[in-house]
Amino acid sequence: MSSRLRALLSCIAAAFTAASGTAASAAPLNVAVLENAPPMAYRDESGQLTGFSVEIARAVCAEMAAECTFRTMMLGHVIDALAGGEIDIAAASLLDTPERRQRILFARPYFRSVTLWFARPGVQPGAPGVRVAAVKGSAQEAYARRQGWTTIAVPTNGELGAPLIGGIAQAALIPMNTSIALLKNPEFVRLGLDSTVMKAAELIGAASFGISPRRPELKEAVDSALERIERNGIYERINSRFLPFRVR
């Protein structure tokens, strides 16, 4: 091989390396997911993160052809982390409330939810002396505080049953999907709790991923990816895998 040809080839190789280097240097997206929130986000037997929200987030990343770095986070930190740009996307079911809307961007809703009041028979919402369990930083917790109820905040959805089982709380505000997982816990079932769907508008409706206001360009890409996975059937498969009925 002549030295001139070798030089040319090395130039081409360098150009390719530079080009692929540029593509790789596009920073991966920081995606926060909740932990211990079955069936939305949890670790399977092998310790891998999975769940409805996690798998939807994976599908969205694949659809966007973006590299995503997943990290777990408590719901109570999610809004601050988004607002501060610590994370780009929060792949958690965030109900759209005015307080949140002031601080973060919402992606296109990926399912619709209701909130349930779980309590011993006869214990009505707002009854005096009733302590209500809710996840810290959740719309349910904010609602209960606004109502002036005494709240017991737990860090994860998976721990919502504990205050009731332990007798610390007499009631809990539980998101629809979390309640399905809790009802598989015999200890929880044994409490013989009554459940009622909450009528408050801010506790019913669309749940969305949160997007950092510092990455507004991500919203269109995430929305479009969500729309595509709804059309191409990926969404339905994930729905069937984690939830007993259609939640969109």
């Binding site: 619709r112 629809m176 769907v197 019913i204 409706g205 709804e230 059309r231 009925f245 259609r246």
Partner: protein, 423 residues
Amino acid sequence: MSQTPPPPMTAHRIFVMLAAGFMVLLGGITALLAIDQHRAMVSAEQLQAQTVPEIIRLQRLARNLDHLRHEGERIFSATTPDARQQALYLVMLVASHPGIQEHAEAAEVARATEAFLTEAVRRSGGEAGVDGSRLNEWKLISGRLGLLVDDISVQSAHLAANDLAQISETLRVARIKLAAALLLVIAFLAGTIHQLSRHLIRPLERIDHALSSLDVNGPPPEFPPTQLPEIHAVENAVRRLHAAQVNNEAVRRELEELANRDGLTGLLNRRHFMASAEAELKRAERYGRPVVVALADLDFFKSLNDTHGHAAGDRVLQAFAQLMRDSVRSTDLIGRYGGEEFAFLFPESGVEQASALVERFRHRFATEPVHLDNGVAVRVTVSIGLADASGRPLEVALHAADQALYAAKRGGRNRVMVAGSEE
């Protein structure tokens, strides 16, 4: 107050109007097709943006209603109160889900299902199974759920069918419009070609024919009435060309006459006589016909001029020429040969016949006085030499006639001499 007449329909105006008409027609067709295309695109976009998501939503609704039925069946088949409670809980969740609540009929059926199943579970209490007597009622509710699932499934399928029907209807109408537009264009072009042929091409063909067959001896070209002023102008030009040609021909003939005739006597001049005689001799030789030439010279013409003046000489020459013209046949040639000398050619004549003719002629001239302008009458005689020109060159024949003339002069003048007989 005179009213302005409408501008004439010129070819230029017609072409501008045709082009404008065609552009309007084409523009209109293009606009129509663009509208149809836009409509089809809007329908297709609606199918993509609205109908497909709506179909997916209805399918999810149908699945959830089916799930209600499934959980109901589970309540009836469950053997433990806990299993029934679990199933009932899912019934409640599905029935209260916004996806079902936003559909009025589904919400109503779901509420009824939830109420019935809640009541059935409540009555069963801690029993192993639900009261079998409620099974029939459940079958009715379950059937109602099933029918609603069917209706919603069919409805979702129809959504796409409606959009597709709209698109295909738009395309069908567009096809009809396209066909109609094509017919319109063909009709327009056919009409244009017909009008062009009628008002432009055929008149041009007539003009071409008239030009190629223009004849100065024929009548002026005739054209049928035409509407286009341009064509009319060309036709008038063709008529003017014909008139000019006729005029030129007349002038040419006049000039030819002037060139070939002697100005004083009106007879052929020497040059033209020689050319005509040459041609006549050739013709006679070709057909073996007899021909005779003669030369005549006025006697004592110089003394006439000296006595009475040149005007008198001219008058005598004119009188002589007039007499000759009156006496000869139209086929005979007479020319002024020079001064007071004249030349003749008698086709189809033998020497005797011609000799008799010129003899009569000599005699008549000698006996009829010429009246001069001053009232004096003079008598002038003529000597004539005659020669047979059959089969001889003109110069030879004329030389022979000249010899005969010389002999006539010598013999005393006022006589006719035939070449070969003068000795």
